[in-house]
Amino acid sequence: GAGVSQSPSNKVTEKGKDVELRCDPISGHTALYWYRQSLGQGLEFLIYFQGNSAPDKSGLPSDRFSAERTGGSVSTLTIQRTQQEDSAVYLCASSLAFGQTNYGYTFGSGTRLTVV
């Protein structure tokens, strides 16, 4: 597709349930990023994938969070045993990248997660 696609756009889940968020990056973009944005706040880095390299998971807030990227394309962010503090907009971005940050990111529209 022409842009970064995220699904679902909105997700309401009960506390304790697991959720999966999907990101389909721009074809040919080797780098994929997940960020989280709480209401009225800046972006918090979660995880970064670059080609076939091991992902940078340094931003994941707890072991309830995990992500994978299959075939160097689609990525899934999984949150297990969701808590209310997980409520946020989860943003995915992709870019042309060769180990540096010299390219602008293309963001998806995000998934708004609400844990009740």
Binding site: V4, A31, Y33, Y35, Q37, L39, Q41, G42, L43, F45, Y48, Q50, D56, G59, V89, L91, A93, A97, G99, Q100, T101, N102, Y103, G104, Y105, T106, F107, G108, S109, G110
Partner: protein, 111 residues
């Protein structure tokens, strides 16, 4: 912790006026980027300025970078109501593989 901090946090101006937003950061950078966000959803890349550049233009946007002061400014000239959005600066550092975003400036352009 956030690398970039925008100032002011909120800015309200009349249509046709210029809007200036500032960003300060703490460590050395490869480049600094500005993004716009409408309605709390996806961000749109506006402009990238490299650490060896001092000024860059794109349409009604003008970005400056002062690496000695570790600061950047984004100027939007002849603002329009459609410019109403949150604006974020983001820094890229050589040792990091991801951008670090600031907390944003909420710009409101009144018609």
């Amino acid at each position: 912790s956030q690398q970039g901090e925008e100032d002011p946090q909120a800015l309200s101006i009349q249509e046709g006026e210029n809007a200036t937003m500032n960003c300060s950061y703490k460590t050395s950078i490869n480049n600094l980027q500005w993004y716009r966000q409408n309605s709390g959803r996806g961000l749109v890349h506006l402009i990238l300025i490299r650490s060896n550049e001092r000024e860059k233009h794109s349409g009604r946007l003008r970005v400056t970078l002062d690496t000695s002061k570790k600061s950047s400014s984004l100027l939007i000239t002849a603002s329009r109501a459609a410019d109403t959005a949150s604006y974020f600066c983001a820094t890229g550092r050589g040792s990091a593989r991801q951008l670090t975003f600031g907390s944003g400036t909420q710009l409101t352009v009144l018609p």
